[in-house]
């Protein structure tokens, strides 16, 4: 068996890296663009100088001037001050399924047969990538039980926004768009389930959980009426409790003429186990960059796959990818389509990687991912709940947790004045990436949401728990240690944070910083 090791002497790279601008020496450069041939130059003349005055750049261009090695070095340094999940114990990101991102997939997207393909090429010339889109969609249909998918949305939230757009189109088609102006969601669903419908112009009604941590069914019944456009809900919600009323809730919403959207950001633990279809949902989405093994890229590129039942397919964004038995083609013929939510047909690189991952897994492999994820989570909970000062949401309600848990450091906060953020800062000193607390507002106080998906070993889980235990112990012994942490990561504790809220001092660009800080 592998050895469990806590990184007591961890030190993240800390290069004290200057800004790229501070590396600048006039006259230096990082690269030379291809030089125009003499013949072209002779024929065309100095076009840039001939441009009309108003179009010609007169403003100085203050970009840094740096030689290539120093640029490469600078950005490698910055990368080393960043904790990607492929190099760290990133059980930290509950709700985000930080799983292993196979290197093979990165090799694949570098293939010129993909990297150098233009999205406006005629379908005849891109049959390979269209096949990948089509086949990946077939797999998603199996995972969800839905009839049709769009891979156009650029992320999970974007897919949820697409759902809101489709819902609006559906009610418009029924002449009920004005009347149905309310969306119901639940407090432990991802906040985008409220924010995206609000962006699309809906009023939002939020449901609290019942005493077991499941959305209060009676409250949903009370909220649903002729104004209900749809319900947006996650299941399990972000606290890892499977909602056993899911189908009853769907029935209640359908009963008043509303639609049901299933936010499946948390799908990883249910691949082949439970699906949108069986619970009766009309729509769902997957975060392709979570569930299907593609990297998060520090917040994208990503892909939100939006799926729906046949009767809603006519509202999907254009184009969709179709197969006529002979060749793959793009279908723009959707007069009732919501239009587009993104240019082209989406984040193709993410789709390609997810396709490769899914093919390597197959149905059984996906199911294995699911099973090991929930096992990992329960194994972790078993250790975590024994750590003094650590509790979790709806503890002791007798319901077995699924893929993630929302823990709480409220006890530490009350006893020693250190909370979730202090724990987070200090855990960084043991090489643990910043953990996900929970979305605002903190319903569960001083939260920490963990999701140990299938990529982590038993020892990874044990190491993580041990670090929590050590740091919680430090909180009791020496709270100040936590309040001034971290000491061994790429950055120290911020001071004078109020400057970030002060228009005279904040700076989101170097130009602004130079002006305000008086730097030359």
């Amino acid at each position: 068996m592998a050895k469990m090791k806590v990184r007591k002497n961890f030190q993240q790279a800390r290069w004290n890296e200057p800004m790229i601008y501070e590396l600048s020496t006039p006259g230096l450069r990082g690269i030379i663009p291809p030089v125009v041939e003499d013949e072209i130059e002779a024929a065309a003349g100095d076009v840039a100088s001939a441009l009309p005055e108003g179009l010609k750049r007169k403003t100085s261009l203050d970009l840094p001037e740096v030689a290539q090695k120093q640029i490469l070095q600078h950005y490698i340094h910055l990368s080393q001050e960043t904790m990607g999940s492929n190099l760290s114990n990133d059980i930290s990101e509950g709700t985000c399924t930080m799983k292993y991102n196979p290197r093979l997939c990165e090799t694949l997207i570098g293939n010129p047969g993909f990297a150098d393909v233009h999205p406006d090429q005629e379908p005849e010339t891109v049959q390979g990538i269209l096949e990948i889109y089509y086949e990946f969609e077939q797999m998603l249909k199996q995972v969800s039980g839905m009839d049709k998918f769009s891979l156009q949305p650029g992320g999970g939230n974007h897919a949820v926004y697409t759902a809101a757009s489709v819902i609006r189109a559906y009610h418009e088609a029924n002449g009920e768009a004005e009347q149905r102006d309310e969306i119901i969601t639940t407090i432990f669903s991802h906040p985008c389930d409220a924010a995206c419908p609000a962006t699309a112009g809906y009023k939002v009604i939020t449901i609290w959980p019942d005493e077991n941590g499941m959305p209060d069914y009676n409250a949903i019944k009370a909220a649903a009426n002729e104004h209900t456009a749809a319900i947006f809900m996650t299941n399990p919600e972000d606290i890892g409790i499977y909602n056993v009323h899911a189908d009853k809730i769907v029935e209640a919403i359908h009963g008043v003429g509303g639609l049901c959207f299933y936010d499946q950001a948390n799908a990883n633990a249910f691949l082949g186990v439970a699906r949108a279809k069986e619970a009766g949902f009309d729509m769902c989405h997957f975060n392709v960059h979570k569930t299907f093994g593609t990297p998060h890229g520090g917040e994208g590129p990503a892909c939100g796959a939006f799926g729906c039942k046949e009767e809603l397919a006519r509202f999907l964004p254009v184009p969709t990818v179709e197969f006529d038995g002979n060749k793959y083609y793009l279908d723009y013929d959707k007069p009732e389509s919501i239009g587009r939510v993104r240019q082209y047909i989406g984040q193709s690189a993410v789709v390609l990687k997810a396709y490769a991952w899914s093919r390597m897994m197959g149905a059984e492999g996906m199911r294995e991912c699911a099973e090991i994820s929930v096992l990992n989570n329960n194994y972790m909970l078993n250790i975590m709940e024994k750590i003094p000062g650590v509790t979790h949401a709806f503890q002791g309600n007798g319901i077995t947790r699924q893929e993630q848990i929302r823990y709480s450091f409220q006890e530490l906060k009350e006893k020693y004045g250190v909370g979730s953020d202090d724990m987070n800062c200090r855990m960084g000193d043991y090489g643990i990436p910043w953990f996900w607390s929970s979305h605002h507002p903190w319903v569960i106080p001083e939260p920490m949401t963990l999701e140990p998906c299938e990529s982590y070993t038993k020892e990874d889980i044990e190491e993580y728990c041990k670090v929590v235990e050590i740091v919680a112990g430090e909180a009791a012994e020496n709270p100040e240690l936590l309040k001034n942490a971290p000491y061994h990561t790429g950055m120290h504790r911020r001071v004078e944070e109020e400057d970030l809220d002060n228009p005279d001092k904040w700076a989101v660009t170097w130009r602004a910083y130079k002006r305000k800080a008086g730097v030359e």
């Binding site: 009604i205 609290w208 409250a219 607390s437």
Partner: protein, 372 residues
């Protein structure tokens, strides 16, 4: 460097232990002492002040002599500037008022006081909303929202305030019950006004899901919404409190903070109405709605601080015409609990039970159950 004021009501809470339900009034106090009550408030405050000892370098403390603050500070090892004068063993509410008033004049950053609802009312009389205050709970009656959870959390919050980590403030209710009625077994909490306390709502960076809102932004949004959604030809009974006051502000109408106002077609019909006036007026309107907020920390919608909107008024207006609006933070503080009514009429209380959409933002509501 922060300048703090510290006031102890040495007799706060003294009635509780001997079953007197409050300590207001000289006769009660005397009775309490005769019954063997012990002055405990100073002891509670000591926990808070010891926490402040850790950051002594970052603050200057002003207090009143002896049992009104000086003793506790000295015991905690804090050096202080002592103001005013008292008769030891015979402090009165007027001493509290004078102390707070003096500290307001000195423009201190915060006044920390130890006591109960009666003490909070004294502080309110002296400073209004002009000074930032925080209560350390030591009284028998804690209906007001101006207190920290306990002396320990008060200490933590003070540290964060002194270190500039908590900057925002919010208005919280000063509530008190009529002690005479209370001793006869009748609970009748009144809303006396608002004090300004530090708002610990944690505006921590939360990159994944977007930002939260401060208390003031939250109230701003919900009151804009309620004002915008007001219907034509409907008489609105606008209840008490700072949340409903903010709605009136959006309508550009004068408002009675502690009273009930009437609005029709965005014009003020009557101010500070009594129950009788309400009953009289609503007769003349076809459609009437009630706008109320949640008063105090226990989730009361009716029967605390807005008794004017009586059982009879509610019955006539109808359950379906009640609009409840409250800040998200206030609602979330009730997490796991429910809304409450106490109209004094069991039938009406029962009729009011069920789920309500509480407006918490612009076009945002939360479903909450109401129980009696």
């Amino acid at each position: 460097m922060k300048r703090l004021g510290f006031i102890v009501n040495p007799v706060a809470g003294i009635g509780g232990k001997v079953g007197l339900k409050g300590s207001d009034g000289a006769a009660i106090l005397k009775k309490a002492l005769e019954l063997g009550a012990v002055r405990e408030s100073g002891r509670k405050a000591l926990i808070t002040m010891k926490a402040l000892k850790e950051i002594e370098d970052e603050l200057i403390i002003y207090t009143w002599p002896g049992e009104m603050g000086e003793d506790v500070c000295r015991e905690a090892g804090l050096s202080v500037t002592v103001l005013g004068s008292i008769t030891p063993g015979h402090t009165t509410p007027e001493d509290t008022i004078r102390a707070a008033g003096q500290m307001k004049e000195l423009k201190l950053d915060l006044i920390l006081f130890v006591g109960g609802d009666g003490t909070a009312r004294n502080i309110l009389d002296a400073v209004g909303t002009e000074a930032v205050v925080l209560g350390i709970p030591a009284g028998c009656k804690i209906h007001s929202g101006v207190y920290a959870l306990n002396p320990k959390t008060a200490g933590n919050l003070m540290k964060e305030f002194v270190q500039g980590k908590v900057k925002e403030t919010k208005l919280c209710e000063v509530m008190d019950i009529d002690e005479d009625l209370f001793r006869q077994g009748i609970v009748s909490a009144r809303l006396y006004g608002y004090l300004r306390i530090p708002n610990e709502s944690r505006m921590v960076q939360n990159l994944k899901s977007g930002r939260g809102f401060s208390e003031s932004a939250s109230i701003e949004m919900l009151s804009n919404y309620v004002a915008n959604e007001m219907e034509k030809d409907v008489l609105y009974i606008v209840g008490t409190g700072s949340t409903t006051a903010s709605i009136m502000e959006k309508l550009h109408l004068p408002n009675t903070l502690l009273g009930v106002d009437l609005v029709y077609n965005r014009r003020l019909v009557a101010s500070d109405c009594t129950e009788r006036e309400l009953l009289e007026t609503i007769k003349h309107y076809d459609k009437v709605k009630i706008i109320v907020t949640v008063i105090g920390g226990q989730g009361y919608v009716f029967g605390r601080g807005n008794q004017q909107i009586s059982a009879e008024v509610i019955k006539r207006v109808g359950k379906e015409n009640i609009i409840i609006a409250a800040s998200k933070n206030k609602i979330l503080a009730l997490f796991g609990g429910s809304l409450h009514v106490d109209t004094g009429n069991e039938e009406v209380n029962h009729m009011l039970c069920g789920y309500y959409r509480v407006i918490v933002g612009y076009g945002e509501a939360m479903m909450l159950p109401m129980t009696d």
